[in-house]
Amino acid sequence: MPVDITTVKQVAYLARLKVPDSDLEKVAEELDSLCEWAEHLKQVNTEGVEPLTSVLDKDMPLIYRQDVVSDGNIQKELMSCAKVSQDGFFVVPKMVE
């Protein structure tokens, strides 16, 4: 099933990448060929196979952190990395509610 331009636009929007209109066709083709390539996974019989998220899964339970406050208070450091900040806030274009 070929990828249509509307889908490419939606994907670009979801990924917040400004793909120029002139490139949409090309991106569609790329997605197409990648998916076509991925299609051959369908040859594999995976009936009853549980998907694997991590090679550690279930063998190694999640490590816990005790509920202790030992981080934070780095407002100055955080702001020093931000291109735009004011009074200890990160600043972005006005968000519409």
């Binding site: 998916c35 594999v44 190694m60 972005v92 274009p93």
Partner: protein, 492 residues
């Protein structure tokens, strides 16, 4: 003093201890080499002043008789590791000017062991590539050239900067990261050793994520012993990484000697595809013989799902990266391209900040994870991934480790790789990718020179946390191969 750059870490430590030279002298020798090798573009950021400062401290330690395990050893740090006070870019424009105020766990361990930072090594942007050609700061060149051919070769990727720097004597060892072969394939292309340890062996804390379920840190060095020295420091449990393993780190150096009596080596027949470079097969056959000579029994095994590994890898890695890279949005760090609305600011920043390959993978991942495709692609890939893991587990019931070539070919020409479509580029990783999917430790050790004068590496794939077995085998191969450590260093 130039011969200082040809020492192994073990030799250097010995020399430092005996006072034959100082850490500052050792560092200076490498700085000089870096000056000569600018054209390789192995480093994104060189830190000679910091290096001399660190070396001076090392000299004090040595004087006090408090020498640490890597005291005064000049190393390169892949620019994917966050280093406090030193710009960290992931070879991406989007992180230009980002100076972390925190340190990755692995780099901290290296500093605590006395290592000296020479600089941040080049890579493919966000480690997405197989040639160290996709980064914002330009491609890295392989120090090796084909015999009588001056064309520029890729060092492999994504840890190509580290591999090139180690190979060319710009540092004694370097860190890499391996998501689908990014330590091992460049090690093979540049004629150095490199190990991707078991997933969970090294902390990922402070290492910029590409694909979290696959990313693993590891060292590149000029021989097996140095690699073991590095890994011993880098490895270990970290309570800041939920995926790090609570398993003690053995002394890998102790496993370097001995034979393979009673051990069974598996030779997976799927690693012999059509069109494979005959030199690669020759090396592989030689490798099999060396292991037999060392007392091992060699059997052929089959891993039929190997052919799906690259696809599974790209579905999973693209999906994870599309999510991992969402944080680069111009708000808190890195560059920012303004826009009238929040969404426009995001889209402008990310379009300007990410290079072509990264954008491509983000789009692929975003597409694949879409609710209507999730099951067909992502979930399917996760299921096949389990089959690949199960297949390795089955094999390890019969064998102690696997021996394969590291790559189907020698280093590729840069212009050639640039003109290839993504799937052809992926094929460079066909032999290194399966172990990444299964989280298995795997090491590449240089084993031969091809007919056109380029290094070729053999790969040893071990059981989970079976790094000791791997080091022992690598050490046997290294001795048998009598590999010439130096690239020809044809001047550009």
């Amino acid at each position: 003093m130039t011969d200082l750059v040809d020492l192994t870490i073990a030799q250097a430590l010995d020399g430092l201890k005996k006072g034959e030279f100082s850490a500052v002298e050792l560092t200076k020798a490498h700085i000089q080499e870096m000056e000569k090798a600018k054209h390789l573009n192995a480093y994104i950021t060189e830190t000679p002043e910091l290096a001399l400062e660190m070396a001076a401290k090392s000299d004090l330690q040595i004087k006090k008789g408090e020498m640490r395990p890597l005291e005064g050893i000049p190393i390169g740090m892949k620019d994917l590791y966050c280093t406090k006070g030193v710009m960290t870019t992931a070879a991406s424009h989007i992180l230009e000017g980002f100076i972390p105020f925190y340190e990755s766990t692995v780099s901290q361990k290296l500093w605590d062991a006395g290592a000296v930072l020479m600089g941040k090594t080049n890579l493919d942007e966000f480690a997405m590539g197989s040639g160290t050609i996709t980064g914002y700061y330009g491609a890295t060149q392989n120090p090796w050239k084909r015999t009588n051919d001056n064309s520029v070769l890729v060092p492999g990727g994504s840890s190509g900067g580290s591999a090139a720097a180690v190979s060319a004597g710009l540092c004694m060892a370097a860190t890499g990261t391996d998501t689908g072969g990014s330590i091992r394939q460049p090690a093979s292309f540049c004629g150095v050793t490199g190990i991707k340890p078991t997933y969970g062996r090294c902390s990922r804390y402070g290492i910029i994520a590409f694909a979290s379920s696959l990313d693993q840190a590891g060292p590149l060095a000029r021989n097996v012993q140095d690699t073991a020295l590095m890994l011993k420091i880098m490895a270990g449990f970290d309570d800041k990484d939920s995926t790090s393993a609570q398993i003690p780190v053995p002394d890998y150096l102790k496993s370097l000697d001995g034979d393979l009596k009673g051990k069974i080596v598996g030779i997976p027949k799927e690693y012999r595809p059509n069109g494979i470079n005959p030199d690669v097969i020759k090396m592989w056959d030689a490798g099999i013989k060396w292991l037999k000579d060392a007392g091992a029994e060699v059997i052929e095994i089959s891993l039929p799902n190997t052919e799906y590994a690259l696809t599974v890898y790209h579905v999973i890695a693209s999906s994870e990266c599309s999510s991992n890279l969402a944080r680069y949005d111009g708000v808190r760090f890195g560059i920012r391209a303004e826009g009238d609305t929040l969404d426009e600011m995001y889209a402008n920043t990310r379009m300007q900040g990410f290079g072509k390959e990264v954008r491509r993978r983000i789009l692929v991942g975003t597409y694949i994870l879409g609710s209507s495709r999730y099951e067909d692609y992502f979930l399917k890939a996760q299921k096949v991934r389990r089959l690949i893991v199960d297949e390795f587990n089955e094999a390890f019931k019969k064998v102690d480790f696997l021996l394969t070539p590291a790559a189907p070919s020698t280093a590729v020409r840069e212009d050639e790789m640039r003109s290839q479509d993504p799937i052809t580029v992926f094929l460079n990783d066909a032999f290194v990718c399966p172990a990444s999917l299964a989280g298995l430790p795997a090491m590449v050790v240089p084993a031969a020179i091809s007919s056109d004068g380029l290094p070729l590496g053999l790969q040893i794939i071990g059981k989970p946390f079976g790094e000791e077995m791997i080091f022992k085998t690598a050490s046997i191969i290294e001795k048998a191969a009598k590999f010439n450590l130096k690239p020809h260093r044809v001047e550009a």
